[in-house]
Structure formats: C-alpha cells, structure tokens
Amino acid sequence: MNPALRIRGLAKTFVLHNQGGAELPVLYGVDLDVHPGECVALDGPSGAGKSTLLKCIYANYRASSGAIVVNDGARDIDMAAASARELIALRRDTLGYVSQFLRTIPRVSALDIVAGPLLETGGGEAEVARDARREAEQLLLRLRIPIRLWSVPPATFSGGEQQRINIARGLIRAKPVLLLDEPTAALDADNRITVMAMINEARAAGTAIIGIFHDQRVRDAVATRVVDMAPFQRAQPATPTGA
C-alpha cells in the first residue's frame, strides 16, 4: 500500500537575520514514510526538532529543502513546493493537526471551535451547521468537557481543557494524515485513556498518524512504530557561521 505521507531529504535551518544572520540548524536529511493505519511516534529529547518536523509537514514552518508528499485524493502534491492555495486545500481536506497549544479566537465558543472543520466544508447552510455542532457535542461529552463550558470561548479554560478542545477539533473530521503534538501532556488519567482510544480509532479507520508522545504509556498504547530523531539532527557547527 502506498504511504499516505512521504518525506524525502527534509531539512530545516532557521536564519535569524536580526541576530547577525545566525543560523540554527534543526533538521537534516529526514526520510520518512507513513502508511495508512500506522502511528509513528517521534522519539528524542527536548529540542531535537520533533515539533519542528510536524510544523514543517503542516507547512506552518517552511522547509529549507526536501519534499513532503501527500495525496489529496486525486494526485500527489509536494507540500514543500505547493502554493498557498493548494496548502489551504490540503489542510482542509488531507492533513489534520493538533498543535501543542490551543490558539483561541475571541468570542468563538468551544463548541464552534470544535465544529469548525466541519462547518468549513458546508456553505453555511443551517443543516450542515446543526449536524456539525451535534458531532462536536458528542466529542466534548466524550472528553468530559462540562456542558456549561460549551458556549464559552476557551481562553479562560485550564490547560487540560484547552488541550481537549484542541484534540476534539483535530479529530472531528477524519483525514488521511494526522499530526499530533503532545496530545496528552496536560491530561488526567481518564482523559488520557479516552484520547488514546480516539487515536487508535483513527488509526483503525486508516489514518496515517505521526505524533509526539512524551508519556511512555501513551506511546506504548498507540504507536505502531517509533522513529528516533537522532539521525536527523544537523551536526552543530564548531564555530558560528560567518563565512
């Protein structure tokens, strides 16, 4: 079966122009295939570039070189070379992403944040909106978000509550590829187990997943493969770049 996600020669170096052009190499020569139904866990210490890799895949960061190939249902597209327009479409339909921190929008309720990816597909029709909200409610129930919080913007929620909103939003619409950045970091045991189950359900449905799981128990429960980041670390230069 073809991989859902194919990474070839991905590299990422940050250039800080306002610090005299200092270069921060983070990733080098990343080659990785993820197949449908796989859950790849990225392994490495803090600062190894795990989050950076996920962000590069999601096009939140711009890869310095290399290719990130996904299939949008009709053809293969290299996200590292795709136009903004193509990326927007890919994010809507092909790639899901649960970031480490929830970015809240003022005045938008938790329910609407979670329903967002489903609302995006409809043209604003009332029926679509109703169904989307119903699904969102199911997820929020499952993740034990109190009903009284559903209509509240999540800016004032606890870290764990915000994370659950983020997860719900990332999982509500099944997509071929799913990126998870520390999905259980702030969760208690019950919610952690729920999230683990949700990840496994997604995997069983054929989603290709890459995740960062600091918690060994979670990793053991969901990962089908562990990938060590060490080979992708760019060797630190002995002297600061200047030449």
């Binding site: 940050f14 250039v15 122009h17 306002n18 711009r62 903004a84 929008i105 043209g123």
Partner: protein, 259 residues
C-alpha cells in the same frame, strides 16, 4: 471546491509619488473565498496598493484583472468609467478605515444600507426597508436604529453599518483598509468576529490592509508583507508569522508586544 481562475490578479503594479515609488512592482493573486492580509508599517505602500487594485487609483504601471460574474476576466482600468462604477456598487465593497468616509452621515442607517439597491433600480420602499432591516440585524445592530442617523452612532456601530452598506449587494470581493483600527479592543473583537463569519458565510474574497498582525492572523489565510512599496514576503498567514523568512518580516513579528 477550487476555481481555476483567481478573482483578482494584480501584476507588476507600480505607483510613483514624485520620485518615490509608493508601490514598486507588486504582484499577487486572490482566489474566490480567500482573505488576504496586506501588512506593513506606515509608509509601506499597503493602502496605495489597495487603492490601485480597487480601481480608486490608476497605477503608473502594471495591470489589475478581475474575474466578473458573467463576462470573464476584465482589465479594470480598461473598463469605462460607468462600468467601473457599476462594479464598485455591486460586485465590490470598500470598507474605509474611518467609517464616516464610507457612509452618508446625513441620512438614516436604513437609507445608507438601501442606497445601493436604489441605485440598481429597486423602487419599492417596503422591500428596500425590509432588506436594510435584515442587514442591520446581520451586523448585529438593533432594528430600532434603522431610522437613526449615523451621527448618533459609536465608532463600532458606524463600522458595522459601513459593512452592511457594502454587503447588501452581495459583492464577491471586498477591500478593507484597517477596518478595526481606532476601535476599542472589545469592539474590535466583535467586529473581527463579524467579519470572520460574514466572509465565511458569503464566501467573500477580501483584501485586508492592516498594521496589526493579530488581525491578520485572525481574518486572513494568506498574507503579504510590504516594505517601502515592495512585497518582501508572501505565504500562508501562520507560516509568515511563525516562520518569517525575510529580515523585515522577522523584525516586524518580533516587535509585536504580547499582553
């Protein structure tokens, strides 16, 4: 659903004020239903660029093409004045930074919203008033204010009225010049929420000029960064803000205060 043709295509736009290039060889595409933020500091040329692409200011060089509903792609500066003004009343919207510039301050809110309809030949008072009332409620204004003059409105209300006035003809393309600047933060939040919802519901293509990066992040999927008349960076909004490539963009992003 993706369309093949951009709704707006700006190519190599240049505009001089004397010897200085306010806009220098700027190009971009805008697709239906997409919101593009143009950010930059004062003097970056962003408002001049907006005026060039919205047919308000003829550039010295370059062209602007618009995808019409039924007549294919047109070069907006090759159109007759009458045709341009017609598009400006129907298919385009322009939201001024100062709402008083985009409203008739001496007529009622209802008349402000109904004007475009009357300009297009609507001659039934009851229908005009009905549509105006609908739009006022859509921008979250009290129905009872339909006969009030905007002189009695707060800045936020005036801005919402300006938006209603522009959207009544369901334009496909809206130009916004700093739509929330000068408003209190809570009012800003309300307005941004409204803009977000409306642009999604109506599948508006929009160009939003702003110096506020947070507004850009909230409203726009794509972003252009301008400095001294040139487009120095372009891409997905979150990418440009989280992984800025150009030195100026990095400076801009790092300068923003976090509350």
């Amino acid at each position: 659903m993706s369309a093949q043709t951009p709704i707006l295509r700006a190519m190599n736009l240049t505009m001089h004020y004397g010897a200085r290039a306010a806009v220098d060889d700027a190009s971009f595409d805008l697709w239906p239903g997409e919101v593009l933020a143009v950010v930059g500091e004062s003097g970056s040329g962003k408002t001049t660029l907006l005026n060039c692409v919205s047919a308000r200011l003829k550039p010295d060089a370059g062209s602007v093409e618009f995808l019409t509903r039924h007549e294919g792609v047109v070069n907006i500066y090759a159109l007759s004045e009458a045709a341009r003004r017609l598009y400006a009343r129907t298919d385009w919207g322009y939201v001024h930074q100062n709402p008083a510039e985009g409203l008739r301050m001496n007529v009622s809110a209802g008349a402000n919203v109904g004007e475009r309809l009357m300009a297009l030949g609507e001659r039934h008072y009851g229908r005009i008033r009905g549509e105006a009332a609908q739009w006022l409620s859509r921008v979250e204004m009290e129905a009872g204010r339909i006969d009030d003059s905007p002189v009695t409105f707060s800045g936020g209300m005036r801005q919402r009225l300006q938006i209603a006035r522009n959207l009544v003809t369901r334009p496909r393309l809206v130009f916004m010049d700093e739509p929330t600047s000068g408003l209190d933060v809570s009012v800003q939040a309300k307005l941004l929420d409204l803009l977000r919802n409306l642009s999604h519901q109506m599948q508006l293509a929009a160009i939003v000029v702003t110096h506020d990066l947070a507004v850009a992040r909230l409203l726009a999927q794509r972003m252009l960064v301008m400095k001294s008349g040139r487009v120095v960076e372009e891409g997905l909004t979150d990418q440009v803000l989280d992984d800025p490539q150009h030195p100026y963009t990095q400076l801009l992003v790092s300068s923003v205060l976090q509350p």
